[in-house]
């Protein structure tokens, strides 16, 4: 917990807590991700390109944390998932007001070099310079029963975003039918296709079902799950475990140099689908799995 929210006391809108959320996401890799990378390093052959790459990655993680500089220069598109209490909450702000504060925080974090200016006008090619643009950054709001306001932030770079993919089952070339065996086949294909280009070793967020748009939203939500958790649905837990093992049998390795660690997390959610549709949406997250959570409860702001 990081102290009382002074902005509330004098009635001003909070900006710094959001800037701090962004700073943490960009510069301070979550402990479970770092631990997984450290464990991966011990698996690789000493002196191999894979082991050296993981050592460089870990050195960089420590340096970024110490200097409060971005872990990766591609700070990506900031993706916010906001959960708002139904009951009156400390900041009593509407989604629209919260969004405008988060946008202001994104611009401020860009000014402070926690974020690279990444919002490019698709028609003119001009970079807006402050990470704000049409539909940029991305926000998802929902109301929930809890009393706290929760803001999850994912910074997802373009290299990993480019290797994300959505399959429509059945998929004839892979003989992938509309079942979990079909899901297994297309996920392995996606990781093969990605090679090292998504900055392996990566984490996979996978959504089975849903529509094309929401499928990717759910796939990215899966990336917020702690690496060490167990899927409450037994058949999905078994699929996650098998995919983690088999993705690593592909031997692509860190940065695609070859090696034992190609992915270090597989998280799968199953969602209802249309009778005619069976989508498998795969969000590939690079090793720099930059997620951070801010919780506001009883006027106190906390981060994890």
């Amino acid at each position: 917990m990081d102290g009382p929210l002074e902005e509330m006391a004098d009635g001003r809108h909070p900006l710094e807590p959001f800037v701090e959320l962004i700073r943490r996401a960009s510069t301070d890799l979550p402990a479970d991700v770092e631990a997984a990378l450290r464990a991966a390093q011990t698996q690789e052959e000493p002196g191999s390109a894979a082991a050296d790459t993981l050592a460089t990655i870990l050195e960089n993680v420590a340096l970024a944390r110490a200097n409060s500089t971005p872990i990766c220069q591609d700070t990506g598109v900031p993706i916010f998932y906001v959960r708002i209490p139904i009951r009156p909450h400390p900041w009593a702000m509407s989604p629209r007001d919260l969004q405008s504060q988060m946008e202001a925080a994104v611009a401020e974090a860009t000014r402070r070099a926690y974020l690279r200016p990444n919002a490019v006008d698709s028609l003119t090619g001009r970079n807006s310079g402050n990470n704000l643009g049409i539909g940029f950054p991305t926000f998802h709001f929902e109301e929930w029963e809890a009393d706290d306001l929760q803001v999850d932030l994912l910074l997802k770079g373009g290299g990993s975003e480019n290797v994300g993919v959505q399959y429509k089952l059945p998929h004839a070339p892979l003989k992938a039918g509309r079942d979990l065996e079909g899901v297994r086949r297309v996920v392995l294909d996606a990781v093969y296709q990605a090679q090292g280009k998504g900055c392996a070793p990566g984490v996979l967020g996978i959504a089975i079902g849903s529509d094309r748009g929401a499928g990717y939203v759910h796939a990215k939500e899966q990336l917020f799950r702690p690496l060490g958790d167990t899927n409450p649905v037994p058949e999905l837990a078994a699929l996650e475990e098998r995919l983690l093992r088999e993705c690593n049998e592909l031997g692509i390795g860190p940065m695609g140099f070859g090696g034992k660690t190609t992915v270090f997390g597989v998280k799968v959610g199953a969602y209802h689908r249309l009778p005619a549709c069976y989508f498998v949406s795969i969000a590939y997250m690079c090793w720099a799995c930059r997620r951070a959570r801010m919780t506001v409860r009883d006027g106190e702001v906390g981060y994890e």
Binding site: D74, R116, G159, Y192
Partner: protein, 217 residues
């Protein structure tokens, strides 16, 4: 696998001595250039269109000073696929805060011509490049240097000075040509000038594993 320290400009002899798997620390002045920069190099200097405003030589007068500087920088030089996070100091000078490589394969359609036209000796990026670039490396004496993707704070530490920046307002911060002086920039050779590519090898072996897991599974 051997380890080398190389200073830019690099000779053809030095490049031909490198093989995939070798680790290299780079010293000297290089330029960043990624998507917009590569398209610009092709459209403006290498295959200029017959648009109005261009001289008989094909290069517009307004772009000639930059052309001459790039020719000087890139001959025997290195281009770095990177869109950095930068900070401007109070005196107006720039500092690299985070500067890891971006995915190189997007430049595959341009890179062989850029290597040939400017006499590049090295391309730094991540993820590797395709057969066109591999062939250009063989023909012209160049290599692909792989930097660790995401190791942005670490690599920024090797950038000792931002010498100049070009096209920043037009292309934006990530896409501009940043001219930087580096000391001990760490890379691995993953495509050499003898036709070898780590990326081809890993793709082939992982394809065999995929077939075993999918067809055999």
């Amino acid at each position: 696998m051997a380890a080398y320290d190389l200073t830019i400009p690099i000779s053809e002899e030095e490049i031909r001595a490198l093989h995939v798997g070798d680790t290299v620390r780079l010293f000297g002045v290089m330029a960043t250039g990624r998507d917009a920069a590569h398209k610009y190099l092709i459209d403006t200097f290498i295959r200029p269109s017959a648009d109005a405003g261009q001289t008989a030589g094909g290069v517009p007068e307004s772009e000639r000073p930059l052309y001459e500087e790039l020719q000087r920088l890139l001959c025997g030089g290195v281009i770095y696929h990177c869109g950095p996070v930068v900070r401007q100091r109070d005196d107006g000078s720039w500092e690299f805060v985070a500067a890891g490589p971006t995915t190189s394969i997007r430049e595959e359609v341009y890179e062989p011509d850029v290597i040939a036209h400017f006499g590049l000796r090295g391309v730094i990026g991540k993820g590797g490049m395709g057969p066109g670039t591999l062939r250009a490396c063989q023909e012209h004496g160049a290599v692909y240097f792989h930097a660790v993707g995401g190791a942005a704070s670490l690599i920024a530490d090797a950038v000792k000075e931002v010498v100049a920046v070009h096209k920043k307002d037009e292309f934006g911060v990530p896409e501009a040509f940043w001219v930087i002086r580096v000391e001990g920039f760490p890379v691995v050779v993953t495509m050499d000038s003898h036709g070898q590519s780590v990326h081809d090898r890993v793709e082939t072996t992982s394809k065999a594993s995929l077939e075993r897991l999918v067809v055999g599974g």
